[in-house]
Symmetry: C2
């Protein structure tokens, strides 16, 4: 890989590291409580398996991104990189979509199933989850672009 | 691509076509109703945006798979194939994860958010959704393998 694109790729990887770390921290600190009819109602990320999955994936990917930034300076086999980036992109997509689906039910509810929205009662929790999802989505896009870029550098994609 | 691996790849693509078509049809026909406290309660896939998204993605991918099977006999550029398969894999992963997250809430509920499980009332609907998810998961795995295989054939992945 030439020097300028390599530095650019490391920059994008650092951004992805920041985005995934931010997503994991913001999701991990999401907490709010409300009292409805004298019953205390606690909202935190660990109440939903989808949010737990989102946090774990983003934490793992942030560590991976940082490790890759250091390894990048050595001669890492680009074929390994393509496969690892593919797995990471699929994991990020999966965790974002699952968390997004549950967050949507939390925000809008589902009258057909009798599930009421909870964001009115715990707005702080919902704001945190929204922030984490935005950050996770940015990381997802960055990894998708990194993967396309890695594929391009080995397959010369845009010279069809 | 050599003749035997090409036929094998077409076979896997046909299986993926069957799996996505099956997932779309089974999700599309999921319907059940129950009466709770004299209130009729209707359950169908279109009540949830995640299930609608799952159906649309699987229907689109089934058409794509069939078109690819026919195009495969001509000389399709493998670089285009890799990028298309990557997009399809990401779309399948995303739709499966979103639908799975909502189906999990439907099955187990979420006591913290006050969302009750609905599968006790509408078991036929839940059976259909489960079937569709299994089929969608199989399609997802098949496309992931197809993508790894396409990458392998152009990058020689396993000869590190």
């Amino acid at each position: 890989m030439a020097k300028a694109p390599k530095i650019c790729s490391i920059g994008v990887r650092l951004l992805a590291f920041a985005a995934t770390l931010c997503a994991a921290i913001v999701m991990g600190t999401s907490h709010d409580s409300a009292t409805v009819l004298n019953l205390k109602f606690d909202a935190k990320y660990s109440n939903s398996p989808a949010f737990r999955y989102f946090l774990i994936v983003n934490a793992v990917v942030s560590v991976y991104s940082l490790v890759l930034v250091f390894l990048h300076f050595k001669n890492l086999d680009w074929r390994v990189l393509v496969v690892l980036d593919l797995v990471v992109t699929v994991m990020l997509t999966s965790s974002f979509s699952a968390a997004m689906a549950v967050a949507y039910v939390g925000k809008k509810g589902n009258t057909h199933a009798g599930w009421l929205p909870v964001c009115g009662q715990v707005p702080k929790f919902c704001d945190h989850v929204t922030g984490a999802l935005i950050s996770g989505f940015i990381a997802n896009i960055l990894y998708f672009l990194l993967l396309l870029y890695s594929l391009h550098s080995v397959l010369n994609l845009f010279m069809l």
